[in-house]
């Protein structure tokens, strides 16, 4: 035997062994996939307290006595669904908030139909969002609430806070694009070349499936090949499969985007970058970021391929507030919410930050006052 030679097996031998292992895995996988899997998402109980057209305002049922005086409204993007914040019990931002005594409301944008194609950004921000904010303020007997926005929902929150600063106590933006003049992200490069007008004229509302395809195209090697290779690798692990299926359920659950909203977002934000320059208009009102004078916590992700750091971090310099903080997490766009590592960092950080700025002191109220003439607000836990 020549001791200088490598003792590594030839490739064909490794492949044969791998095939043998796969056979065992396949048998186990069949048991798992054909057995009962727990893949429900968004299982935290809530009630729908307000509804307007297709949008619903969800109020999560408190788990403890509230420890913060100010209720929190979370506004998700129009792309994909807000269920991502409550994907699974051990990775639920909503549950973390509830366990810490936050009173949590969430905007559910619903599923736009052709009827909604003429809705603009103004309708969403100054219409649905403003009505939801007023509802919460009235319900809690408070002048101001906390507002948290995610991705495009964060952009909406920024616009809202600039137009109605008197209604917002604290503003938290997470993975929120506000400055679009960057080539860091592929999406920014593509969107500038997109003929949004033609798309809206053709489709009315932009189909969710088309957007899904576009998102997959951003990183085909990882999202189309490697991801499913990872599934095959761990298909004999029931917990892994359940988590994987939950993520798949969420990621391909894409409502259409109202046409006029899409058109304006591409034109005013991606093409002309009006938002960060305080030149964006909603109707006749200019969104002046200097009017954002409440505390701002801006969280973004270092490896975010959809909202790169360059698109998110300029906000704190553009607002009028002096109490601003940028936090950059070492994760990607979705990892901010679902990564087990950031679970310990992300939500607790927000809670701490809000607690430090929760009113001038005094005991928190006992929660929302029951409405005088209570409509039948169904306790709607809607497992998916």
């Amino acid at each position: 035997m020549n001791f200088g030679e490598s003792t590594r097996k030839p490739l064909w031998s490794e492949l044969a062994e791998e095939l043998g292992r796969l056979h065992g895995k396949a048998r186990k996988a069949r048991e798992i996939l054909l057995g009962s899997l727990s893949t429900e998402i968004a299982t935290t109980p809530f009630e729908v307290v307000h509804q307007e057209d297709r949008t619903r305002l969800k109020h999560y049922l408190p788990r403890t006595a509230p420890t913060l005086k100010t209720p929190l409204l979370i506004v998700y993007a129009l792309i994909n669904r807000e269920t991502m914040l409550d994907l699974q019990p051990d990775r639920s931002v909503v549950q973390t908030f509830l366990n810490s005594g936050l009173d949590v409301y969430m905007m559910d944008w619903g599923f736009p139909t052709r009827k909604d194609r003429f809705l603009t950004i103004e309708d969403h921000v100054c219409g649905y969002m403003d009505h939801a904010v007023d509802f919460i303020r009235e319900r809690h007997g408070t002048d101001r609430i906390n507002l948290m926005g995610i991705c495009m929902g964060g952009s909406f929150c920024v616009m809202y806070a600039a137009l109605y600063p008197e209604k917002i106590r604290n503003l938290n933006t997470t993975v929120t694009p506000t400055s679009f003049e960057t080539d860091e992200g592929l999406l920014h490069v593509w969107m500038r070349r997109l003929d949004a007008d033609r798309m809206v004229e053709t489709y009315g509302n932009i189909p969710g499936d088309l957007m899904n395809f576009g998102f997959l195209l951003l990183n085909p090697a990882r999202l189309v090949i490697d991801k499913y290779r990872g599934l095959l690798e761990s298909v004999n692990d029931k917990e892994f499969v359940e988590n994987f299926v939950r993520m798949e359920k969420w990621i391909f659950d894409s409502p259409d985007v109202p046409g006029e909203t899409f058109r304006q977002f591409i034109r005013d934000c991606y093409r002309e970058n009006l938002l960060i320059r305080s030149r964006m208009k909603l109707g006749s009102r200019r969104v002046d970021l200097k009017r954002i004078t409440m505390p701002l916590l801006n969280i973004y992700a270092r490896y975010d391929h959809l909202v790169p750091p360059g698109a998110a971090r300029e906000l704190t310099q553009a607002v009028g507030s002096t109490d601003v903080e940028d936090v950059c997490l070492d994760t990607g766009h979705i990892g901010v919410y679902v990564s087990s590592k950031t679970q310990k960092e992300f939500a607790p950080r927000i809670i701490r930050w809000l607690r430090e700025r929760d009113d001038d002191g005094g005991t928190p109220d006992s929660g929302p006052q029951p409405p005088a003439a209570s409509p039948a607000s169904a306790c709607a836990r809607t497992p998916s």
Binding site: S6, R8, L11, E14, L15, E18, V48, V49, H50, Q51, E52, R56, F111, R114, K115, R117, F118, L119, G127, D130, H131, D134, F135, L186, V189, W190, R193, L194, D195, R198, M199, T202, Y203, G204, L217, L218, N219, P220, A221, R222, I225, D226, R229, P371, P375, A376, S377, A378, A380, T382, S384
Partner: protein, 232 residues
Amino acid sequence: MQHSSRNVQDPQPDALSLLMGGWGRELIDLHFQVLRKAVAFSGTLPGSGKGPLDAWGAFYEKEIQPFLKAPQVGLARYYQERSAHLVDKFNSWNKASIEFLRVVSGPLEKSIRSLQGGKGNGDGAGLSTSKELYQRWIEQLDSLYQDLLRSPDFIQCLSDTLDALEGFVTARTEYVQGLGKALQLPTLRDLDEAYRELYLLKKEVRALREERAEKSGRRSNRPAARPASRKR
């Protein structure tokens, strides 16, 4: 008396032979034309992947598309036009999507070839476990895709593909709506007009409600809450 078949005053035998001659000549010419074009087209088949597609595109635009764009006549001309338009747009979409797939599969081919080339060098250090091999391949593939997806050529291809898709979708919608018209089904345009009016009316009602609330000194600019009427 010999009856001359070539007497020009007697048209029947001459017309027949003329017709046959004429038709025959045309038929033979047509055959030769088709053969020439087929040879020209097939000559591009081996070699670069783009050649046949471009040749087909040129052939389609020159030989087939003029028929589809020829003006239609008769009572059913609008339906004929829309059918021809749909077929034309479908072909354009087909061509664009094939080109798109060709471009998108480029990095796959390159990465596999590069992996094979590396192994074939006989470099023992290049050989690795299947996992390492896969890892190397996926990283290379990822890198190739990131270069491709930012390139101006790809962005143009993506834009052309989207244009072709939108052209086909619009043509298909018009065609189907044309058929639906016979059943008195509303078109998307009809619905959009109704939706737009509804949208504007709702805005007006909200504005009037706000104005009334402000005048009466009460700020109530949201509609009354109503229970969730549907669950998903």
